[in-house]
């Protein structure tokens, strides 16, 4: 029975994974092996195939980073950019000429911020989709984006901020982003809601926050309203070496926690009843993962604004290649999200550097997501 189960499972999976375990096993000599040994070998090869896909996505990500860093509106020779970076590392204490300063102080933070944002949002999106068992879930499902937008609107239109100066918008966005997520988490403690209820609560809070934000923008002066629109769409051009480390800390810490919870996420994919039957405290796990995702998304959104579709599409594309095992899916989604983010930024630099990157992620992400949904096979879930 076990042999039949594995054979059927591998037959089904082999139809979906482009580099299948069967394909790899064909390269090996299976003469003299029993059928069970062959099946076990195919399964191991299937696991290695997923690792291979992960490496392919890593190479893609590195390639996009190298391309994006060479692009920008200031006229610099593409390969001269790399020379400037190498010269900078060769002599750290030198006075930077303007070209080197532009590459090091303006482009590098932008690209590194895009990398961190893509990694963080995609990992959070993958975890959210697994936890909610919903392909539409993304890091903003609990209303984080609307909370952050309200906080930024208060800072930009009315000058009401928790911290003075340039940190005002960032701090406001972070604190207000956590408000809807905090409400849902508290509700989870006392009411133990289902994933559907969490999503509906997030949508309700989103409407409330959007209504307050809309009123504030109606009464604000037009310059401030334009600033809010620019912030809402999301961009990477406010990145500096002072802000990039915070986003990396948020993304990487959150990623470590999500990887630690990956086994539980895999189990939650099978449903709450099954998870409880094998001793998993589903409500506690859901709260931990929700808090992690909320902090990741809030920490990222407060610095860059609302960059959409990366957390939604990145996990979907990664899932097509590596399957739904969160131990592989979460890192694959991270790399895919980073690649998508930097690809979008590269297009911005080529088409119109004045355009916020959130516009391009919508142009790219919307049709890609529609395509994925239209052709979606239920076996992926």
């Amino acid at each position: 029975m076990v042999k039949i189960k594995y054979r059927n499972k591998l037959n089904n999976l082999g139809q979906k994974v482009r580099i299948s375990g069967k394909g790899l096993r064909k390269l090996q000599n299976t003469e003299g092996m029993t059928e069970s040994e062959q099946i076990i070998g195919e399964y191991k090869a299937y696991k290695w195939a997923k690792v291979l896909m992960l490496l392919v996505v890593l190479v893609l990500c590195i390639f996009v980073v190298l391309v994006d860093i060479g692009l920008g509106p200031y006229a610099l020779d593409f390969f001269d950019v790399y020379k400037q970076i190498i010269d900078r590392f060769m002599d750290w204490n030198q006075e930077m000429p303007l070209d080197m300063w532009i590459v090091w102080e303006l482009r590098m933070p932008r690209v590194l911020m895009g990398l961190a944002v893509g990694i963080g949002l995609a990992m959070a999106g993958a975890a959210m989709q697994s936890m909610m068992k919903n392909p539409l879930a993304d890091p903003y499902t609990t209303g984080i984006s609307s909370g952050a937008a309200l906080g930024a609107t208060l800072a930009l239109t009315m000058g009401i901020a928790l911290l003075p100066g340039s940190l005002g918008t960032v701090s406001n966005a972070f604190i207000f982003a956590l408000l809807p997520a905090g409400f849902i988490i508290v509700m989870s403690v006392f009411r133990k809601p289902s994933p559907a209820m969490i999503i509906l609560a997030g949508i309700s809070l989103m409407y409330i926050f959007n209504a307050i934000q809309s009123y504030l923008m109606l009464v604000a002066n037009p310059d401030a309203a334009a600033d809010v629109y620019t912030w809402t769409v999301g961009n990477l051009t406010n990145a500096t070496w002072d802000t990039v480390p915070y986003v990396y800390v948020v993304a990487l810490l959150g990623g470590i926690i999500l990887m630690y919870e990956a086994r539980i996420l895999n189990t939650m994919n099978s449903g709450d009843a099954y998870s409880k039957s094998i001793g998993i405290n589903v409500n506690r796990a859901r709260i931990i993962i929700l808090v992690t995702i909320s902090l990741m998304a809030a920490g990222i959104v407060s610095f860059t604004g609302i960059i959409g579709f990366v957390g939604l599409v990145g996990p979907h594309i990664a899932r097509m290649f590596v399957g739904s095992d969160n131990k592989i899916l979460i890192p694959a989604a991270a790399l895919m999200g980073a690649a998508i983010m930097l690809l979008a930024d590269s297009l911005v630099q080529l088409v119109n550097p004045n355009m916020p990157v959130g516009i391009i992620t919508s142009i790219l992400g919307g049709p890609i997501f529609l395509f994925l949904i239209v052709r979606q096979k239920k076996e992926i879930w």
Binding site: A75, E95, P97, A226, V233, S362
Partner: protein
């Protein structure tokens, strides 16, 4: 219509709505910026006179805002100057202002003030290329002077 097809229709509609909302926000912002241009982002033309070696020369240059980052105002300086004997100088450099319209003292030396066309200007000298900028409000460079061993040029805002 099956439930699965119905769900897909809803998803498609929601995604389309999201994309439309994004474009609407961008369109409104672009419209606002077009009707209320930021004076920092204007491109300015300059007439240049001076000498290359011992020969008089003339030409033009342009200082254009470059949207490399929203944390600074970065401008590229491009121009061309030539003399009657065919000697030419191509100008290509840049200048950076902080967000508060001041200049970074690690990169530029503050020289003093002057008055140009009844406007008080600050004079800054670029440590890298010995170029002097006469800067008014909103990062407007009213005059620039470039001194090297080969040429001496003065640019005046048109």
């Amino acid at each position: 219509m099956s439930e699965y097809t119905g769900n897909r229709v809803i998803i498609v509609a929601l995604v389309a709505l999201l994309v439309v909302a994004t474009f609407t926000a961008y369109g409104l912002t672009t419209f606002w910026q077009a009707t209320h241009p930021d004076p920092h982002q204007q491109t300015r033309e300059y007439s240049i006179t001076g000498v290359i070696g011992d020969e008089p020369c003339s030409g033009s240059c342009q200082i254009e805002y470059v949207p490399e980052s929203h944390t600074v105002y970065l401008y590229s300086i491009t121009g061309h100057v030539s003399s009657q004997s065919g000697k030419e100088v191509t100008l290509k450099s840049g200048v950076v202002f902080q967000k508060d319209d001041s200049m970074d003292r690690n990169r530029y030396d503050y020289v003093g003030t002057d008055v140009i066309e009844d406007q008080e200007v600050d004079i800054w000298e670029d440590k890298e290329n010995s170029c002097r900028y006469y800067v008014g409000d909103t990062c407007q460079i009213l005059r620039l002077e470039i001194h090297t061993e080969e040429y001496m040029l003065i640019g005046v805002l048109n």
